[in-house]
């Protein structure tokens, strides 16, 4: 088991956990937390491949991860703003009750 594989497995596990949380928990914020975890897993994946892959001097992995983090931050901001807006409208943050789009 190479270190790469360990990192990749960790990343896979993180991703799976994040996904599981996003689709099983009731609270909207936890879904967002799960999404953050998934993003982190992906970033980890990139870094692992950067470290153990070809041409590490191109710094492609790092740059990518930096951008990814920036965007993750932006997305987290917007997502949380959405959660707050929904909470304001429906007095709940239970995702089971947010189904106006049902049909």
């Amino acid at each position: 088991m190479t270190p790469l594989q360990v990192c990749l497995l960790v990343s896979a596990f993180l991703f799976a956990i994040g996904f599981a949380g996003a689709v099983t928990r009731r609270h909207a914020i936890l879904v967002l937390i799960g999404i953050e975890l998934m993003l982190n897993a992906a970033n980890l994946n990139f870094i692992a491949f950067w470290r153990y892959g070809a041409h590490p001097e191109a710094l492609t992995g790092i740059i990518f991860v930096l951008f990814s983090m920036a965007l993750a931050g932006a997305e987290a901001a917007v997502g949380l703003a959405l959660v707050i807006a929904i909470y304001r409208h429906k007095e709940t943050s239970n995702l089971d009750e947010v189904k106006e789009l049902k049909g």
């Binding site: 996003a22 689709v23 995702l95 947010v98 789009l101 049902k102 049909g103």
Partner: protein, 699 residues
């Protein structure tokens, strides 16, 4: 082409036009109707005189005969031509029909004055006249048949003129059906003739079917039993004449036809229509006489003519015996007509065209006279027709009495002065010289005896003795001088009715002149030998024997009749007839017309009713059944279609739509509106995609 021959069609066309105009006019235009009808007949009479004059002025061998034909209708590649012919036979018939018709029309104006269907009567009369005249001038069997049928139709319409009387309606139907049976023979003969000769024109410059070449062709061929084709066709055509002229066995309609008004009886059933049958036989005489063996006295003897003679002779004696026992004034005359028609046929058979036609012409006049006279009597006796309720009318209706007596003597054949004597004698003369048998001669003589007898009986019962027409309660002893109101008394008829009678009576006497053996003008005229005609009183001597014998027969008949009915008058209406008292069984047989009507009723009519029932059954069940079957099949098919449409098509479609909707319903569950569900689906899709990529790569 002489103009009269070209315009001969006008003679039947004028009454036809009159009938048409009368038909479209409303009820009260009586003067117009009568005027039109009588006017058309008068014009026709004038034209007939022109035609007659044209035939007289002919010099040449053989009879004058001019035809006018034109192509009428084309079927296939052939043209059928019709046309008319003017020859002595035509001319003499034209004159007679228009003259007698005109007189009878004038008589009808007075007779039908109180009838509210005056217009309809004259309409039918005019139509009849045009039909009869069409029969006379026709040169073509087809045109003759069409006119023949018009005559039959109008006869039906006129017999049933008072159609609300059930007896009249039944009589009209009987007349039509019985003559129809005869017409079937005529039609078959016509078709066969056309098949044999290729033309229906009688005379067509050598190509006609009565001319030598056609006749030769028909004589040479024979059919079953060795009978010549000409004989067979002639007998078929004779069958038509049998129906129309009331020969035995198709005579049953004529006495019943007396249900019609008296002018109808006079015109149709005495003078003209029934004579049409005799005229037809005269027209096709060349056909019937074709192929005869060489004969003496110039009269051909063939099978057809022999049959015609026998039928005529039997009819003559048959009807004469029935007339003896009748009590209705018109029935006596009707049976007398049947009997005289038999004489005419017999005359045609034994003596040729001239003999038969001479009797036809004289009979037309005196029979019309007798019928019109009886009409006058009936009118005067307030529509009473039973002779037992008449009597002593010579006091009340002297003019009628005199003319009626003239007519009666002419019919009976009183010697020398009256035309009936000369015409009947011609027939008996030729019958006595007939080569086949003398039986018709004896039958004719016996018939003459009976004729004289029953006519005297009729005269005696009607005009002599005391009037028996009052009620039984008021005894005839002080009947006519007492307090009985004069409105019950018989009265003389008005001039419009008596003047035609007088004219006819004149002719009944005078017509005899043209047919005496001393100056056989009629015979010569018909045969085209007028040029060599001279008055030869010596001929009278040659036939003196027969003249004497027939005079004796007639006088015997009159004497017996006078003794039984003239001198010994019956007292009351209900008294039994002299003959009935003497021979009740025979009298009953004669009175019931030999029960022939009952025989026909039991056989032919029942068979006809059965056939009609069979046809109705077939129509209702077999053809109707087929229609019903089609109906049920159609209904079933449509029901099946509806079933299919509703369940299969609609149901299928609905099921399809329903399943789509159901599918949609199922699929819409995917849209739960919940984000996490969507996420799950995305996860599954992602996994599937990657697996696919990996496997695809590996493969």
């Amino acid at each position: 082409m002489i103009w009269i021959v070209k315009n001969l069609w006008l003679i039947p066309a004028l009454p036809l036009l009159a009938a048409g105009i009368i038909a479209v006019n409303k009820q009260p235009a009586r003067k117009l109707a009568a005027g039109l009808a009588i006017g058309s007949m008068a014009l026709g009479f004038l034209l007939s005189l022109c035609a007659f004059a044209a035939t007289l002025g002919h010099h040449g061998e053989g009879a004058f005969r001019e035809t006018f034909s034109f192509n009428w209708i084309q079927f296939g590649g052939q043209w059928m031509s019709i046309g008319w012919v003017l020859d002595p036979l035509t001319a003499i018939m034209l004159v007679m029909v228009t003259f007698v018709g005109m007189l009878i029309f004038i008589f009808s104006v007075g007779y039908m004055a109180h009838d509210k269907n005056f217009m309809r009567f004259f309409n039918f009369l005019a139509l009849f006249a045009s039909g009869m005249l069409g029969v006379v001038i026709a040169n073509n069997l087809f045109l003759l048949f069409v006119s023949w049928e018009i005559v039959g139709l109008t006869s039906y319409l006129l017999i049933g003129f008072w159609y609300h009387k059930p007896s009249a309606a039944a009589a009209a139907k009987k007349a039509f059906v019985t003559t129809r049976i005869g017409d079937l023979g005529l039609l078959l003969g016509m078709v066969w003739l056309y098949a044999q000769t290729g033309t229906l024109n009688f005379y067509d410059h050598g190509h006609g079917c009565m001319e030598a070449s056609a006749l030769a062709g028909m004589v040479s061929k024979t059919i079953c039993g060795g009978m010549m084709i000409s004989t067979a066709i002639g007998l078929l055509i004779f069958l038509g004449a049998v129906g129309k002229s009331g020969q035995v066995p198709l005579h049953v309609w004529l006495p019943d036809a007396m249900e019609g008004p008296t002018p109808v009886s006079a015109l149709i059933h005495a003078a003209t229509m029934v004579a049409a049958g005799v005229f037809l036989v005269a027209r096709v005489y060349p056909l019937m006489a074709a192929g005869a063996a060489p004969v003496e006295h110039g009269v051909p003897v063939t099978t057809a003519l022999t049959i015609v003679t026998w039928v005529g002779a039997v009819t003559a004696i048959f009807a004469a015996t029935i007339a003896v026992a009748q009590n209705d004034i018109k029935r006596i005359l009707a049976y007398s007509t049947v009997s005289q028609l038999g004489y005419m046929m017999m005359g045609l058979g034994v003596g040729g065209v001239a003999v038969g036609m001479f009797h036809l012409i004289t009979h037309a006049f005196f029979k019309a006279l007798l019928f019109l006279g009886s009409g006058s009597v009936i009118h005067g006796c307030h529509e009473e027709q039973d002779v037992r309720k008449m009597g002593g009318l010579k006091k009340y209706m002297p003019v009628t009495f005199v003319v009626y007596a003239i007519g009666m003597l002419a019919l009976a054949g009183f010697p020398l002065f009256f035309s009936g004597f000369w015409s009947k004698d011609e027939i008996l003369h030729h019958a006595s010289h007939w080569s086949v048998s003398h039986v018709p001669f004896y039958l004719g003589c016996t018939g003459a005896l009976f004729t004289a007898f029953y006519m005297t009986r009729q005269m005696g019962l009607v005009f002599f003795g005391k009037y028996r027409g009052y009620e039984e309660s008021s005894h005839s002893a002080h009947a006519h001088s007492s307090s009985e109101s004069h409105s019950h008394e018989p009265h003389e008829s008005p001039a419009v009715m008596t003047v035609p009678l007088i004219i006819l009576a004149g002719f009944a006497i005078l017509l005899g002149v043209i047919g005496t053996p001393a100056w056989p003008w009629f015979d010569a005229y018909l045969n085209g030998e007028l040029a060599e005609l001279q008055i030869k009183f010596s001929n009278l001597a040659a036939s003196a024997g027969l003249m004497g014998a027939s005079a004796l027969i007639v006088l015997t008949g009159i004497t017996v009749g006078w003794m039984l009915y003239g001198k010994r008058q019956r007292k009351t209406a209900a008294e039994k007839d002299v003959l009935e008292a003497a021979q009740p069984a025979i009298y009953k047989l004669l009175e019931n017309k030999y029960f022939i009507d009952e025989l026909y009723e039991a056989t032919v009519i029942r068979f006809n009713a059965f056939a009609a029932w069979l046809c109705d059954f077939a129509d209702k069940w077999i053809f109707g059944g087929a229609v019903l079957l089609v109906k049920y099949l159609t209904v079933g098919a449509s029901w099946l279609y509806r079933l299919t449409d509703e369940n299969v098509v609609n149901g299928g479609f609905d099921a399809g739509c329903g399943s789509i909707r159901g599918g949609g319903g199922i699929l819409s569950r995917l849209h739960s509106g919940r984000v996490q569900t969507y996420l799950r689906i995305i996860g599954v899709a992602l996994v599937a995609l990657i697996i696919f990529l990996i496997w695809g790569r590996k493969a």
